[in-house]
Symmetry: C2
Subunit: 241 residues, 2 copies
């Protein structure tokens, strides 16, 4: 792998694991030592993470880790709803290939399979995989490079992905209910796209995106930090300004 790429994942880990705290200036030298790289690829990684929105540039030079507020999580949900809603609408308006329809049906059926038994310990990993396929397929089905870029940009934020809320907390009984509702929305979006009901596709997709945020915030509760992944990935929140 290129030094720049590995510096990117290394830096992201340092940030998401909380070893680099929000607000403090990031020293290129320290990071370079820490990751066994020279400053050049580290600089490249810093610039890319800044363009992703994970870092804030300091006017006088350098970067700090960006702090996110609860408001940012809500807003990301709104934006995701708008963009994914647009993707679903465009897919419905422009029409999709039978290949695309099949991929969507497979994803929906895959999730149905997970919920076939009443067992509350369903396969969360598989749900995330199927869910990802469903959403990615719709993004692609919009057939819009511009839109896909915007969505990718947004999803690079650790709390903006369609599955972020699942990774945050997988206490099964509640989660199962939530996901069954979500799955019903998947089915409705698929049907709307099949029948070229673009407004319906957009509206449901928008609602679908915001549901996850609502759950994510419920999970978050009063905590100052949001633990996003089993391995300890953490997002630090600051109080609202």
């Amino acid at each position: 792998m290129s030094q720049t790429l590995s510096a990117m994942v290394g830096l992201r880990d340092l940030i998401l694991s909380g070893e680099l705290l929000p607000g403090e200036r990031i020293s290129e030298n320290l990071v370079a030592q820490r990751l066994n790289a020279s400053r050049t690829p580290v600089r490249a990684a810093l610039m890319r993470l800044a363009s992703e929105g994970l870092l804030d540039p300091i006017p006088s030079g350098g970067f700090t880790v960006r702090a996110f507020t609860e408001r940012d999580v809500i807003d990301a949900g709104e934006v995701r709803g708008s963009l994914e809603g647009l993707a679903a609408r465009l897919a419905a308006e422009r029409g999709v290939s039978s290949d695309t329809l099949n991929r969507l049906r497979d994803a929906v059926q895959g999730i149905d399979g997970l919920f076939a038994s009443e067992d509350p310990h369903f396969d969360v990993k598989s749900y995330i995989a199927f869910n990802r396929i469903f959403h990615d397929t719709i993004h692609a089905a919009s057939d819009s490079a511009i839109l896909r870029r915007q969505i990718d940009q947004l999803m690079s934020l650790p709390f903006a992905s369609p599955s972020a809320f699942i990774e945050a907390d997988d206490s099964r009984p509640i989660l199962r209910t939530i996901l069954i509702v979500a799955q019903e929305q998947h089915r409705a979006v698929l049907e709307a796209i099949e029948q070229r009901q673009s407004a319906r596709a957009e509206a449901i997709m928008r609602e679908h995106a915001q549901n996850s945020v609502r759950y994510l915030l419920k999970v978050k509760g009063q905590a100052q930090q949001l633990r996003l992944k089993p391995n300890g990935t953490v997002i630090h929140f600051r109080q609202r300004a």
Copy 2:
């Protein structure tokens, strides 16, 4: 100014003026010579322009100038409609300061002033300025850092800004009609925000964004290139895939 900044504007000029053609690989050395800089700041500029979407990374290394299709222009209009619509809705839902309202009213009144006389040779430059203030103020009024980032990202594309279509062709008689309609939409959006009619604000703003695209495409006609600025700025289109 920093070398990186001036390399960015220099590179953007080289691209938009058509001296670097879409598809061809950009040589860091040539650009560095051309701009009297070393490769390091040129590389930084290349990376930033790539993150803006103006350049395409080549898998084997380096970048090419990105070619845009007519479809991209349409899609940018859809995305802009969604994002600015969301901004208007959030502004209406969350409420705006009287300071913000005043800025919006000033912008609208400013444009009214331009159309006060029947003279078809109204002040296009001023219109663009007022229009920009109006839109920027609404983006800020959404009070959402996440959304503003997304909008800024989109607007960095040369054909996605609210005034792109004006700069493309300012044949006055038609333009005047178009802009009077646009101004009526400004007024309606302002009123909707004042009265916290969020759905109305969103819908009108969305339509407003797409109107400009429609006009831009009409101007474009059959041409292979789209001249975006009086100084010769050009966007190259390729045939749809």
